[in-house]
């Protein structure tokens, strides 16, 4: 009995040292988050404030979006509305074609991945260059991201070095300048050296680009600010060199005002990467002198999620990644085991909201440990939502047959105390089953466990024959 996640995760276990490294890496980020949480006495109040601000904003979203649009427009920003991914891609392509854009540099945006922006632009002959180092590496290697914040940690330095040598035409010239600025790579794939190579390569891309595209961590309704947080400064480079700036923002990213912004700025990096802050927290309120700024507000299912009683709280999500870092299943199965482009607890839920039949394979990827609920800065009820999705699987035709049969069997047995007691009485027979039978694929428990020994007398029997009479 197996979902695609279970099968992929099983294959992933074949390299225990890879599993261990992945698990250690991301638990390390969880631990950094813990240190941040314990350093702020007001931590739990901050989370509760963030939760309530998001609940308020999301349930008054139409008003706040109107306020945002008005403020942004008054600052010279062009505001567009996209109903879905196709609409979004059309709008962006339109803007780019009107400006004769041949090359776009972009900073990280999960929304652009959700809408398959890159493929769409490339189909229309527009070069798209990811400028976040991890995303750029993956783009060059034609790999998908494995995590929403630290997407390339599963890739080894040797592979990155090989890729750079293969795909960056002036790799050798750049390498010479590294030595000239005092660098001396300990090994030819030293991360500091490779980061320098990427820096020089990306500098050229920034200078050649006609447009910079960013996502938005937050949109501030009161002022029309778009806020973008990065450690690398790539969103700022993308928007300081080319004069055209296009922001892609999911409508749920709106927050009311600067007071709210303080709460979220303080939570974002602490939760996502375990730092007090990202290096850059940039507020874009209007176009540059001689430039143009566009904001594309994207719905793509968000307005209907609002009406979903059990799952609307996913709209609070800030895409920080904390839930993945703490998830014991994500850490041991990694991003590629999931069938949705966002993995981990939030990915299971967002995937089901996107398409419950297509992405149901991820619903098995959860032991319901509830750790995610406790790290989420906005208190999305992640584990409860996974439990709820599980109840839906049967009616979607996606319930695992064996789980269904077992549940039906248990329902029958537990529903009839006489049958249950009889089963208990007979259970020691299991002890006498031949090992071959017990350890075969028919007994999934035997995959990882030595079979339990069934005691001669159940508690029921001990009570009715002894304890009851001793009272």
């Amino acid at each position: 009995m197996s979902t695609l996640h279970a099968k992929a995760a099983e294959a992933y276990q074949l390299k225990p040292e890879v599993v261990e490294r992945h698990d250690k890496t991301f638990f390390g980020v969880r631990e950094k988050r813990d240190r941040m949480a314990h350093a702020l006495p007001e931590w739990e109040d901050l989370r509760e404030a963030a939760n309530q601000i998001k609940k308020h904003t999301v349930t008054h979203l139409a008003d706040y979006l109107e306020q945002f649009e008005q403020a942004a427009t008054s600052n010279g920003v062009h505001v567009h509305w996209a109903k879905d991914a196709d609409d979004y891609n059309r709008i962006v392509l339109d803007i780019l074609q009107q400006h004769g854009v041949k090359k776009v540099v972009k900073s990280k945006s999960m929304l652009t991945e959700e809408c398959h922006l890159n493929q769409n632009l490339e189909q229309h002959g527009i070069d798209v260059v990811e400028t976040d180092l991890g995303e750029r590496i993956l783009q060059m290697m034609k790999l998908a991201p494995s995590h929403i914040v630290m997407p390339a940690l599963h890739v080894h330095r040797e592979e990155i070095g090989d890729t750079f040598r293969r795909l960056i035409p002036d790799f050798d010239e750049i390498a010479k300048t590294y030595v000239a600025v005092g660098g001396s790579p300990a090994d030819k794939n030293d991360p500091t050296f490779l980061t320098y190579v990427a820096r020089m390569h990306l500098r050229q891309q920034f200078m050649e680009a006609d447009c910079g595209m960013t996502g938005a961590n937050f949109g501030i309704a009161e002022t029309g600010d778009v806020v973008v947080c990065t450690n690398e400064g790539n969103a700022d480079m993308s928007t300081s060199i080319p004069k055209l700036h296009i922001v892609s923002m999911g409508i749920e990213k709106i927050i009311p005002n600067y007071r709210a912004m303080g709460v979220f700025q303080r939570l974002l990096a602490r939760c996502g990467t375990g730092q007090e802050t990202t290096v850059y927290t940039s507020h874009f309120r209007g176009p540059r002198p001689g430039g143009e700024m566009h904001v594309v507000l994207v719905d793509n299912g968000r307005s209907s999620i609002l009406g979903n009683e059990e799952h609307w709280q996913t709209l609070k999500c800030m895409r920080c990644g904390a839930c993945m870092n703490t998830c014991p299943v994500y850490r041991r199965s990694a991003g590629y085991s999931y069938t949705y482009f966002i993995p981990g607890p939030i990915g299971i839920n967002l995937g089901m909201l996107r398409n419950p039949v297509q992405y149901s394979d991820n619903v098995s990827a959860c032991s319901l440990c509830c750790s995610c609920d406790n790290v989420c800065p906005v208190k999305v009820d992640l584990s409860t939502q996974v439990y709820r999705w599980r109840q839906q699987l049967d009616s979607l035709g996606k319930a695992d047959k064996m789980k269904k049969a077992m549940s039906q069997g248990m329902g029958f047995l537990f529903g009839m105390p006489a049958a249950y007691k009889a089963a208990l009485w007979m259970s020691p027979i299991v002890n006498w089953l031949p090992g071959m039978l017990l350890n075969s694929v028919l007994n999934p428990w035997a995959y990882g466990h030595r079979m339990m020994h069934f005691p001669k007398r159940s508690f029921h029997e001990i009570w009715s024959k002894e304890l009851k009479h001793q009272r």
Binding site: A6, D34, A37, S367, L368, M402, M410, F414, L424
Partner: protein
Amino acid sequence: MKIGLFIPCYVDALYPEVGVSTYKLLTSLGLDVYYPEEQTCCGQPMGNAGFEQKAIPLAKKFDQQFRNFDYVVAPSASCAAYVRCFHPGMLKKEQCEAAGKTMDLVEFLHDVLKVTSLPARFPHKVSVHNSCHGVRELGLSSPSERNVPKYNKVIDLLKLVDGIEVVEPERPDECCGFGGMFAIEEQAVSRRMGIDKVKRHIATGAEYVTGPDSSCLMHMQGIAEKEHLPIRFIHIAQILTSNL
């Protein structure tokens, strides 16, 4: 105080000694304890597997069996948590009286009886297994993710035992990987999680792993035996009744 004893299905079948210890412990503390014999299961295995509908009749039956007691006590954090946290959503208000007074043994001893001494003696080093549902649904200990004052009811009780040495593993409340049907459906990851958890318990130098949940202990024991990892498993009820 009349106590209804709730013995989860797998404890009934596989670890009856945990039930016996629980009964003996509660009666030794002067309580009137009764075990309704028509009880079977709280419904959690079906609920977590996605068949909550099949668990509803069981939840109804549970309420009928237990509603007239002052407290319902179970030697299982996850089963008590399922009853308390999920039964109210599954039943109509009038059909749901027992859920609110259902408690795991540890929280009952700690919060209701406020036990301050026990005749128990267990001169061994034990590593505490902080089961997920105990920590995050029942509040048996402070979750490591939160910035809240640190506490651990399981350890508080164990410290009453003569001769015992109590330790916690690294990643003190990371999931062991049982998760009910999860262990069957995602067997590879479940096994990996179990091996990692058992190794962390062993690294403390403890002779035993103990905790409030036989399901976690059962999962880890099965893995430890198959992988030949040397550590033993015992439910906290048994430690607290040692010497009785």
